[in-house]
């Protein structure tokens, strides 16, 4: 087996992974991004790390996913990009910083409420239906 074909095989395996990610587990990362921006403005790299933290290492946002999401949310008015003058002091002027807009906060609240509802319903149903045998 040549190096070339080994490399091809490897990328194929990874491709399978990604496609599963995209089609079957395609949950939008918006919720976590909004959550990450809740405390203070962040730049992309910091959002990525925060989301990784929030999800206990489950959700790694790859650059293109993160930035296309950020761009989309900015377009919808959920987040805002800081002007250079607003950058936190001592930080790089080159990087783009984002902060949660009031509208974004509302979206986050709504989603949290609906998640809470789902959670409550789920718990109560589980309690109402103890495990059956067989």
């Amino acid at each position: 087996m040549t190096d070339n074909s080994r490399e091809e095989r490897l990328s194929l395996v990874i491709l399978i992974n990604i496609i599963f990610d995209m089609t079957i587990r395609a949950e939008s990362p918006d919720f976590f991004i909004l959550l990450a921006l809740l405390d203070h403005p962040r730049h992309g790299l910091s959002v990525q790390r925060e989301v990784l933290d929030l999800t206990d290492g489950q959700l790694h946002l790859w650059p293109a996913t993160l930035y296309t999401s950020l761009a989309r949310m900015a377009r919808r008015g959920w987040i805002e990009e800081l002007g250079p003058q607003d950058h936190p002091s001592g930080e790089s002027q080159r990087r783009r910083y984002f902060r949660l807009s009031p509208r974004g906060r509302r979206v986050l609240e709504e989603r949290t409420v609906s998640l809470g509802k789902v959670y409550t319903v789920a718990v109560s149903r589980l309690e109402a239906n103890p495990q059956e045998n067989g």
Binding site: Q48, A71, R94
Partner: protein
Amino acid sequence: MRKKSQVFRLLLKLYPADFRKHYGEDMEEMFCSDLQACPGLFSRGVNWCRGILDLIWRAPRQRFSRPGSPHWAGSGGMASLIAEFRQGGRRLTRQKWTSLLSILVVASGIAAATSAFALLRGVVLAPLPYPDAQRLVRIFQAGRGEKPSNPYQRTYQSVIRDARTLAATAVIRNSFRVFLDGSQVVGAEQVPVQETTVGFFSLLGVPPLLGGWPVEGSEENVVVLSHRFWMSHFAGNPEVIGRTIRLLEIRSDNVQSRRVVAVMPSGFGAELLPSSNGPELWLPVKLLPPTPRVYWSKPVIARVADRTSLLAVVAELNQRLEGEPSDERESGSLSVIPLQEAVVGAHGRLFWMLFAAVTCLLAICGLNFTGLLVANLRLRRSEMAIRKALGARLPRLLGTLLAESVPLSLAGALLGCGLSFWTLPLILNLTPHSVPRLQTVSLSSPVLLFSLLASLLLGLLAALLSLPWSPNLDLLHGLSRGLLAHRAGNSRLALVLVTGEMVLAVLLLFGGSLVTNSLLRLYLLDPGYRTHDILSFELLQPVDFSGGGVLAMQGKKREVLERIRAIPGVEMAAVGPVPFRGYGSTDVVREGEQEIEPVQVLLNDVSSDFLRLLDIDLLRGRPFTEADRADSPPVAIINQSLASRLWPGQDPLGKRLTTNPDDPGWITVIGLARDIRRRSLERAPEPEMYLPYRQCGDYSSETFLVRAGGDLDSVRKLLREAISAWNPQRTIDDIHTLEELMGEMLAERRFVVWLLNSFSGISLLLAGAGLYSVTAALVADRTREVGLRMALGAEARDIFRLFLRWGLRITAIGLLLGLPLAWASSRLLERWLFRAETGNFLSLLLVVLTAVSVALSACLLPSWRASRLDPLIALHRE
């Protein structure tokens, strides 16, 4: 790190410019930090791939989403379809095992199909790697043999070379030279070369890597190197142009110095010489002016002029041929065949057959997949019924089905393509080396695209097939789960699916049994001579026979024979042609009042022990002896076929024949030998003539046969030593046992047998699995009915038989439909059939028995389970 993100930066171009300008740098920085965070090389590689793939994946949406419009928010058909696919995805993850099974089924089919298509494309379909390759042709001339052969020299020079319809022509000939690295001959290396006319290179139109094409007038003094030769002998040194290399021509013992003028790119010309990796050198040669007595014929290739059809070329060539002064031997009509076809030859059929078999297999996978899909749907019939009641129309329902089948088939395709990275090298290893262009076979993008399309088609067909039978869409029935209502529809579908699988499996099984039968017959066939304990070899190294003439040469052969006979373990040694290998043929005419048509015979120049060594029966007369020398009266032993052609019904002993009626040196027949299968096992025995090698003049062969008892490998070693001890200038290239040569000859058949049988094995397994799952589902569906029957007095045995009979009925239908179909399509296998008449009883019986036993074992367990049901519980089910 900069280097690693280069690709990333390049791919960022896929995004709209403003997006790229705005976020590009940040994204790149993040990509690099993702890589840096990884400890190992491997995980860094994985992260690199994921980052890149993510970048590619997201690009189209970013580019094509309208500014200002929310991302997923479109309310049109596309959005609902996407929603459908998401739901489908969720359902699939819920029904984990059926999904996994479906993926595996599709993957096995796609893996086989991908490998088969890669072979078909690489060997047969892909155009030759030359500019405008469809205009390249090879020219043949009808000869005296069954098949058209290469054009004769005179025909080439007077008819073909100047044809108006041909833009360029070239003569090529495969040969060997000894490359003299330094001055000594010992240990010098023999390399495959191609002698060509100078036009060869411009005809094919591939520019050289270094230097320039040889020009007219420089023939005989220049040489063109292959990329491989350049790398292995000159370490890729670009200064090689202008250097001189020395080459020795073996037959004539003639050393030539040639100047290197060009190096061709890697892979050039490989397909023009199958069975090896292609020529190492090209030697431009000049054609001698035609002489009346020289009858060479060599391969001729040509490039057809612009806007000219092949028919026009054939018409012009033959018209010109008629205008030539006719010589009986050289006037056969000319034909033109596209070069690609000529290169692929009869092997094309092998790969089409392989592809057809794989298509069968793929169809079985498709049917199996449909079955699994329907089984999935059955679990959700109430959901489907509600959807229908809520107003879902047919397209929407089809969308629902597609949303399940397409992701599964795509996942199967990915897995299958992954698998084919293993299966393709496996199949390539088994492919006989005589198949041309194997080096171009790879999993290229068209091949992968084919697999993708095949899997999409599979998904689409599965969805369409299951639509009419998708659980009863009547709301009332769907919700009430009235089992009786669905049974008819479901079992009919099951019947169709499983019967289809059976038919296809029988098709493959029948083909497999036919070719296996043929191969076995060939193995069991008596070729008419001994094939074990025989070694053969050829003395190929420089032969300095030039000095002493024919007599000295024969003396040296006798010396070699003496040396070989002295080796411990050697029982006999002889000079003579090796079965299955090259052969010489000539025409003979008998002595007598009426002339009869000359008979073409295989000519064997042998030493006295040859017939005894190979155990060829001498039916009458005497064998050759040491007394049959060049100066004694010429004698011959002929075989039965020749005797019956020349002197039907008469005793051939003492009769005379000649190979040259103009100057008859009459040869007396002294013996009659039994017919043997000399050229191949498949060919019926041909007329043959044996002559003592000492009476054959200078065209006698240099092949030796050795019969040895005991360990052939040690004899092989001793043989090599004996030859180099006798004359250090000569070494033996290859020593083969006759059994090895026979195996080589049967390689293609073995390949076909192996492939067809493994395909039919897989297809039987799939059909069996399909039958099993359908029977199991049927049992589950009819549980209440079984309970009722039992309550009414049916015994366990009756229930058992009920389901078993159902399974056998499907098999019977499969056989009834499959066998005639198989019989009709066995024409595709013709080439690999040997005395295996298609209606052969034994293979038929084998097919029926195998199919029935597979069906029985598939139905056994569910039927047994049904028979063990407790009627009370069965009646209360649901």
